[in-house]
Symmetry: C2
Subunit: 215 residues, 2 copies
């Protein structure tokens, strides 16, 4: 059966974004350094339209593997954009411009209905208002046997983890202390989540920790 | 020059102890699993008086290295014991019984003066009431050229890190989610701490992440 995976970068103190996130600074203060390990890789560059150059090696391998065999992505609303409340007349089209780096269906968790939004490169954003289980069901269907990835933010990951719906967690720990911001692990509630370490890899400037959720 | 080091185990969600710590349960709920990687090692057993047996390998190597060349330890008061306020007439002698696993001078940060307490095996607890800098000065002196280790808890580590007094941080990440308790990284304040990854090692059931603090 296809898996529900999450791959996400945190600071050493556990934040996926620094303090004072804003439209101009979506990763918060200092948060831009979280992805210093990923940005120079061949895979990252290719995903953002730069087909030549880029680093190969462990970081590139890990990123390529994380993106491989993914047929659909689920995003929390804040991960899709900074807008709150109803979508309005001139709605936000995502952080990523006309050609978002997904190239498959993306399901955005929101309380506010909106028609699907088709972008270039095969990315269509679907807006799901009836909860995380429904979003997962739709994403599985759309993924056609491939895996589904929870693309963040922290709140979406927490909800899927707490609901026992996540199979695999791939955490890239950047050697950065942000001192505040949005923590990956928070509000897990009383549910006991059991993990099994799958592997630990030393990338350049990052530790890749992969876990399987024990059901 | 001798270094100021810290080696500490955290859960994947960043806790050094689980929720509801008590005298009976000093590591809090679930916290006893944090050290599952260390307890079976040859080095841990030897430190606790069991000279035979024990696992060798990466976990044992890392633990032995962490304890090697350490001449003095600094502990926060909660790490020394559960007692709060003045020490009283029948004072607490530490969590570790008559022969604590330090075998060198240990400086306990406290607001309440107390005479030094000599235990078996070369451990003497000194109670320092005039702050973290003074404790470090005394510990350096006592270490006689060897390194000083900050033995925890989280608050002591945070204070030394925030004051720019820590040189090296060796974090053992256990594949456990505690969901609450005492976070290693908290209250760092506005000070920007810069880290450099020294190494990442995959132990059995634990990831060893070692960082140098960039001064």
């Amino acid at each position: 059966m296809s898996k529900v995976r999450c791959q996400i970068t945190t600071s050493l103190d556990g934040y996926v974004a620094g303090p004072n996130q804003s439209r101009e600074n979506p990763l918060g203060e200092g948060g831009e350094h979280l992805h210093d390990w990923a940005v120079p890789t061949k895979t990252f560059r290719a995903l953002h339209g730069e087909q030549r150059g880029g680093e190969t090696g462990i970081n590139d391998d890990v990123l390529r593997e994380a993106l491989d065999n993914v047929g659909a992505t689920i995003l929390g609303r804040n991960m899709f954009g900074p807008v709150r409340g109803p979508w309005g007349r001139d709605p936000w089209h995502g952080w990523w411009g006309d050609d978002p780096p997904f190239n498959h269906p993306v399901f955005v968790l929101t309380h506010h209905p909106r028609d699907p939004l088709s972008m270039q490169g095969g990315t269509t954003f679907y807006f799901v208002t009836d909860g995380i289980e429904s979003a997962l069901e739709q994403a599985r269907e759309a993924a056609g046997g491939k895996d589904v990835t929870i693309g963040g933010g922290a709140s979406a990951v927490q909800q899927y983890l707490a609901a026992g719906l996540l199979d695999e967690l791939d955490i890239h720990v950047a050697p950065v202390l942000l001192g505040g911001g949005e923590r990956l692990f928070d509000k897990l509630g009383a549910r006991k989540v059991r993990l099994e370490s799958v592997r630990v890899l030393a990338g350049a400037g990052v530790a890749h920790l992969k876990y399987r959720v024990v059901k």
